[in-house]
Symmetry: C2
Subunit: 517 residues, 2 copies
């Protein structure tokens, strides 16, 4: 018998599986989980439904349009590309915005300063990264508080060490102890110095975007950056259907530098768009298409990501809700729509929740959101670790629980081998009906690699667990992140490059007074 293998591990970097547990190699966690999906993407919608949603997006772009407020340059670029401009409003003939997206690459490399950590966006690849944008952090020891630069650095360190995260993220949390107009320098420096995974730069003003790219040039070299994507900028749409000038201005900076632009509409159904999932999907597609069209008008071929940030609301209270079934449906639909558009998709999912503590509700929401993301064929997953309170807080404990689940889901995406070795016919010679397979040669040969090795310890028998204090997952996670940070070692960085980065930061900081809002 020599049949097809449905799927096999295809990671080029060491896979965290089997015996290589934290406890076996303190301070030396394996560094990368698989980055390739070997199981099929789930297709929620059929051709007619997908075409109908695309047609609705076309209708929005033609009849309603998108506003690029305060950015005449952006509007002129789109007018030159054939769009209809009237004041701030930009409209596109049916199919035109989509056609403008055609120069965007289907798949591209996002380079890391350690080439072994370079990731691919698009195709069968998947890139997981931590949460983004929280002003608060929390842990079991110190409780909830405003995030500091040290917290930011800690999450960069933890993301660097977490095998299931392929990417260092961007504003993992807001270092509110640093002036608003200078913190981007410290954040980019932390990503470059404390990690060697890919990362995101600043977008909060065009000049901060330019600083981010300049720092990347110091590390990667100007020519390399001109030809390759080495960082990402996230352009949030001020949904419904508005790009404000900060965002379109930063978009232009990234696009001119040939760096990856992720366009992220932000729609909570019923507030920034209609409440119905199909409408949220269509409006997301319309907004993202308009943004991608602008990127391509600036620099054809510039790498882009079709992003989204969407969820549901409790329409009685206005509270945002996450991990809900309606949001999961939109996530799955958007992955399909993005594949049809022909660009990599950043999922609106991740491990997101409105819970205020990493309890059962938080992890249920998170696991549900992550499944819809992972099964649907999304290419990049933001907020995959740490997110609490609808994104207001990064939790050290939830970060650990989340990266553990990321590892499990990446194992799921590897699929199962269906071949002679997997069928283990010889084991039935050793174990007859009623016998135990534990001592068969097949089990012994596979026992260290067969199953994903979780980061959180096995709960174990109830009595033992009680005797040892009845620790919750959160309490175990607390020990784990502290032990990880205690054993953290930064990746190497050329001393001259490090010095140049520090000089650049010092010059930029001294060139402007502190701003705190």
């Amino acid at each position: 018998m020599n049949i097809d293998t449905v799927s096999e591990p295809v990671a080029s970097l060491p896979v965290r599986r089997g015996r290589r547990r934290r406890s076996d190699r303190p301070g030396a966690m394996p560094t990368s989980a698989p980055q390739v999906r070997s199981i099929p993407a789930y297709d929620l919608l059929g051709e007619r439904a997908l075409a109908a949603i695309e047609s609705q997006a076309d209708w929005i772009l033609e009849k309603v349009g998108v506003e690029f407020r305060g950015d005449a340059v952006a509007r002129d670029l789109l007018r030159e590309a054939g769009a209809m401009v009237d004041g701030d409003r930009v409209r596109f003939e049916v199919g035109h915005a989509r056609a403008l997206c055609a120069t965007a690459p289907r798949q591209f490399a996002l380079h890391a300063r350690d080439p072994r950590r370079t990731v691919t966006l698009g195709g069968d690849h998947i890139v997981l990264m931590p949460g983004y944008g929280s002003p608060f952090v929390t842990d079991l020891d110190r409780g909830r508080r405003y995030a500091s630069l040290e917290d930011f650095r800690n999450f960069v360190r933890l993301s660097y060490m977490a095998p299931a995260l392929h990417h260092s993220g961007g504003t993992v949390c807001e270092p509110v102890d640093i002036p608003v107009n200078k913190r981007h320098l410290d954040m980019v420096y932390a990503h470059l110095r404390l990690s060697s995974k890919p990362f995101m730069g600043s977008v909060t003003t065009p000049s901060r975007a330019a600083d981010s790219i300049e720092m990347a040039r110091i590390v990667f070299g100007r020519d390399f950056v001109e030809a390759n994507a080495v960082l990402q900028g996230n352009i949030n749409v001020n949904s419904p259907l508005v790009f404000d000038e900060t965002m379109s201005g930063s978009l232009r900076v990234y696009a001119e530098a040939n760096q990856c632009v992720c366009i992220s509409p932000a729609i909570f159904g019923g507030a920034m768009g209609p409440v119905t999932p199909a409408a949220v999907a269509a409006q997301t597609l319309a907004e993202a298409t308009a943004g991608i069209a602008l990127v391509q008008a600036i620099r054809p071929g510039c790498p882009v990501v079709f992003g989204s940030f969407h969820s549901t609301m409790d329409l009685r209270t206005g509270a945002l809700t996450f991990g809900t079934p309606e949001a999961g449906l939109v996530t799955m639909a958007l992955s399909q729509l993005g594949r049809r558009l022909g660009v990599p998709v950043r999922s609106g999912g991740g491990q997101i929740t409105s819970a205020n503590a990493p309890d059962g509700q938080a992890m249920r929401d998170s696991a549900n959101a992550l499944w819809s993301t992972m099964i649907s064929g999304a290419h990049q997953v933001w907020h995959a670790a740490g997110w609490l309170e609808g994104g207001l807080t990064m939790s050290y404990e939830k970060f650990i629980m989340d990266v553990d689940n990321c590892g499990a889901m990446l194992r799921l995406l590897e699929g199962m081998a269906v071949d002679d070795d997997a069928f283990a016919r010889e084991a039935y010679d050793e174990a007859a009906p009623g016998d135990n397979f534990l001592a068969t040669a097949h089990t012994l040969r596979h026992c260290t690699t067969a199953n994903y090795s979780p980061i959180l310890p096995s709960p174990g028998p109830y009595e033992t667990w009680r005797e040892r204090g009845g620790k919750s997952a959160e309490q175990h996670a607390n020990s784990i992140w502290k032990s990880m940070l205690a054993s953290y070692e930064p990746p190497e960085l050329d001393a001259q490059i490090d010095e140049t980065l520090k000089q650049f930061m010092a010059e930029r900081k001294s060139a402007m007074p502190d701003e705190w809002y």
Copy 2:
């Protein structure tokens, strides 16, 4: 525009959605969530892999065989059907066992004594039910303890009230305060008296199976039971590849009475079969096929369910693990294999975990296991609510958290409407770019029905949550189950039937001395 609707609610009973929250209708929770899947089942494996697994199952049945220990009647029946019998061992020529399954129905009704609660097994239908078999129960007030008949009754009451459970279950927990040889009578009576949803009878001896069916005959009428499935019996395989005489004896009782037999191989990879997922799937298929073949040899056309109970182990400690990626892969493969066999599938998933408390780890495991179950097209889901500690304990609090997630996943299975109403073009006349959609007519028209209404309260803002005591999901669940039980009202039951049931139980109980083991 008049395009296809991808999916619409198709439940015949009221759907728990929108404004009909617990708090609005105390004591009158809506009674049933949708029972039909409107989104496609996910196909993990392709044709070649499925055929290879079927071929491996054929190889097991031909070359290794299945033992029916101590049951000459069962072996004779299979010999007459064409199987090769040698001692306890029964072997089947390639394809023969599968051919014997062909008389089993693809889809059938499992009748409830309230016809509105009758469920369909097979096709696009899904049936969720609570945990099965726990000797312990736990709640936040009283802690962990041996289960009693009152606990059993409480879970029957709660399952009756939970809209997302379609089925009352079987041995929801073990009423260990009742003699082993009599408790089946109390359990069946509780299902019949305190609920009107479908249920499972006893299988612990053939005579207890017969008692269960006799009690069903009292309620449904002898002729009705002869022609229709009104209860299910679960036949566990003593994996690997052994049916013991208690199980095959009880199987024969159910099959002779034309009642639904679920064949459940029980394989923890590496112990009761090889460690590899493809091997677990193949052996499960082989064992289930043999059992179903026996049912059909006894009574062609008798309704069956292709069951499974499988998971992974920590192979260093022997601890059972649940909700793992490898188990999820097997769950998804078995749903496909069962559909090809042409009988309804009981998923090995559900909301299962080895955690000892309903914490983040428990709910992550549970949500992961439920996703693989629900997305794969399984037809019946055991252990969908309450399960802790690898099934040793039913948790009152986790039961609530789980049924909430069941409701969310049933909403997901409804899919999204893709039609003019969903696209809400008219809403864009009311809300221009940058405006809010909350006050549009479309949002107002849909706001009570658009989103699943969870049972657990929205966490709300952190500050408010802290002021109110910072309750965990588990603490909220504690209040909810108590309030549900306080407002429970039993369904009506004809007084004469009730009296006859009680007389039957009294006679059976007085006919035998108590046995405690």
